[in-house]
């Protein structure tokens, strides 16, 4: 029981970290919480389903195209909705909240209420050390999730764009003074945040098929992870995701399955009470 709970906790934790990464990036740079994050995730799931099943594209191509399209959609949303609200982080929250409801109902209208699942990459399950069976698709998702996280970290550590992102999330004003075009930076990072949601969506849709409202719990856990890890902290995101995944699964294994999702929130509230800025958050100056 402990072995599979830990294993599943790790896998789900990486998945949580991946979904939260986009939220964290956007919060760090723009101080905007994208409430519709889960709906971007779902959109990518639908796209990859459509391209792979209806148009018969190879699954990798379908996934890539889905992420690219969601990235573009993210840029559009930033341009039309978010940009006018800069400096008023509460109002962008309100707007994206309404957007999330609109998108959910648009999906219902377009794709119908039934779950949609793009084709899996790999079938079956593997016997792990004779302890338990574990779904192969999940392990593939784990590998893909880690790969995306590594790529994102490498990009932020090593590239020019990453340096700008780091500078801007440290001190916006300074970055602006040093000639960074923050308008374009915002647009790009919002798009990137959406693309990360999309990456999580295409990786996970074969495990958890998408429905119009399935984005809500995704976004909720992403928010918990982001607050847990500390707003805008990338490492916090990873650690927060893993903690949440482990706590939920061990809690479900040993305490109560019905309260699985409450454990995460309880941890969150404890962290807020003891260390309000989150595990890796900067204290407000």
């Amino acid at each position: 029981m402990f072995a599979i709970a830990s294993m599943n906790g790790l896998v789900i934790g990486v998945i949580y970290a991946l979904t939260a990464l986009g939220v964290s990036l956007v919060v760090g740079i723009m101080n905007v919480v994208n409430f519709a994050h889960g709906e971007f995730y779902i959109l990518a799931g639908y796209f990859s389903f459509l391209f792979a099943n209806a148009l018969g594209m190879p699954i990798i191509a379908a996934m890539g195209l889905a992420v690219a399209l969601v990235f573009v959609f993210g840029l559009l949303v930033e341009y039309t909705l978010i940009r006018p609200t800069y400096g008023d982080d509460m109002y962008s929250l309100i707007l994206t909240f309404i957007l999330s409801i609109v998108l959910q109902n648009a999906y219902l209208f377009i794709f119908g209420p039934y779950p949609n699942k793009p084709p899996g990459w790999i079938k079956g399950a593997t016997n792990i050390f004779d302890l338990f069976f574990y779904g192969n698709q999940r392990m593939a998702a784990l590998v893909a999730g880690i790969a995306v996280i590594v790529v994102v970290f490498a990009m932020i550590k090593l590239t020019w764009f990453g340096r700008i992102i780091r500078a801007a999330s440290q001190d916006r004003g300074m970055a602006e003074l040093n000639g960074v075009n923050t308008t374009r930076l915002n647009m790009l990072s919002f798009g990137l945040g959406c693309a990360l949601a999309a990456a999580a969506g295409v990786i996970l849709a074969p495990v958890f098929p998408v429905t119009p409202t399935a984005g809500v719990p995704v976004a909720l856990t992403a928010f918990v992870v982001v607050v847990l890890g500390g707003m805008g902290s990338m490492w916090g995101c990873i650690i927060g995701g893993l903690i949440l995944g482990l706590v939920e699964n061990l809690g479900a294994a040993y305490l109560s399955t019905g309260y699985k999702h409450v454990f995460g929130f309880v941890i969150l509230i404890m962290v807020l009470a003891i260390r309000p800025s989150g595990l890796f958050g900067r204290k407000e100056a």
Binding site: V27, N31, V33, T80, L81, P84, D88, D89, M90, Y91, L93, I94, L95, F97, I98, L99, I101, V102, N105, A106, L108, F109, V216, L220, F223, V224, V226, V227, M231, G258, Y259, H261, V262, F265, V266, L268, I269, L272, A273, P276, S277, E284
Partner: protein
């Protein structure tokens, strides 16, 4: 997010008389209509309470809480459970429900107000989720998704009587909000919303100010929820849900965030609009959301803002 208190303050006697006359006409309205429209009016009044109290928080102190529906749920469930399990008088239930919502509001506020801003939004969201799961799982006490059937506030069910109860509730809510934002604390609310640091440099206790707004707002939501439960005779987890939160938020934003009459206008126009577009079946939420999105994006001050801009132009043209 603009506020204009100075203007909307009731200064002159004619204005007060006009308001009273309008109120009198409104109070007689249900006698002229059928049962269903009476029901719609009552629901409008419920949303007026919810939107006005949420506006106190979001519009006047700039804290976007996603737990407002959850506090309404606390009011409703506390009252309902006490009445059903302990045989309390429903009116007593409403009072205790309101107090409990206030207490929870105080605690949640205490927890996250230090960090303010987005933390408050996300923590209230988490709180609302916890409450939702607990209500669903504690089936023996809350009856879960089945809903808790509760007795009414009055012996003989009558829409007209409920109308007056809800009218009184809405007036109490509006009076509390009005008193508060026009008191000295109201100045502090708005100062905190405009610029926290400048406010604290002028001696405003930011945490206390927010806590006050949060507690009062939660209490008012609790009262609205408790009354609603005893009107519907059934309390379900749909009351403290994000869907409800979405309605309350949209009503406030469409009516006019941070204006006194905005939430009232928003509550009435959206509830009546939704009664009409319900005929569109599965598309009505989509239409509703699109209207809210358009207004929020292009007229962030809502209907009240549009009216003011129009009046401003008109005055400029005639002057």
């Amino acid at each position: 997010m603009t506020i204009s208190l100075g203007e909307s303050r009731l200064k002159s006697t004619p204005k007060i008389l006009l308001c009273l006359a309008g109120l009198a006409v409104f109070a007689l309205l249900p006698w002229t209509m059928g049962v269903y429209n009476q029901h719609v009016l009552i629901v409008c009044l419920f949303y007026t309470m919810m939107a006005a109290s949420w506006n106190l928080l979001a519009g006047y102190t700039g804290q976007v809480s996603f737990g407002h529906a959850a506090f309404a749920g606390i009011g409703a469930y506390v009252s309902g459970i006490l009445v059903v399990k302990a045989g309390l008088n429903p009116w007593g239930g409403v009072v205790i429900g309101t107090l409990c919502a206030a207490a929870f509001g105080f605690l949640v506020g205490l927890l996250c107000l230090r960090m303010g801003g987005i933390y408050l939004s996300l923590t209230t969201l988490g709180f609302s989720e916890i409450l939702h799961i607990v209500i669903n799982n504690e089936y023996e006490i809350t009856r879960g998704t089945m809903g808790l059937q509760v007795p009414g506030l009055i012996e003989n069910y009558s829409k007209i009587a409920y109308f007056y109860i809800f009218l009184a509730g809405a007036l109490i809510t509006l009076a509390v909000v009005y008193r508060l934002v026009h008191s000295n604390a109201g100045l502090n609310f708005r100062a905190v919303q405009n610029d926290e640091r400048a406010a604290s440099a002028l001696g405003v206790d930011v945490v206390r100010t927010r806590l006050l707004a949060f507690t009062v707002s939660s209490a008012l939501a609790g009262m609205a929820g408790a009354l609603y439960g005893h009107y519907m005779l059934l309390i379900t987890p749909h009351l403290p849900s994000l869907d409800q939160q979405f309605l309350v938020l949209s009503m406030t934003v469409i009516g006019g965030l941070g204006s006194f009459v905005g939430p009232v206008i928003g509550a009435f126009s959206l509830e009546i609009l939704s009664e009409y577009i319900r005929a569109w079946g599965e598309y009505h939420v989509l239409v509703f959301g699109l209207v809210a999105l358009f207004v929020a994006r292009f007229a962030p001050k809502g209907i009240v803002g549009i009216y003011k801009a129009w009046r401003g132009k008109y005055r400029a043209a005639t002057a």
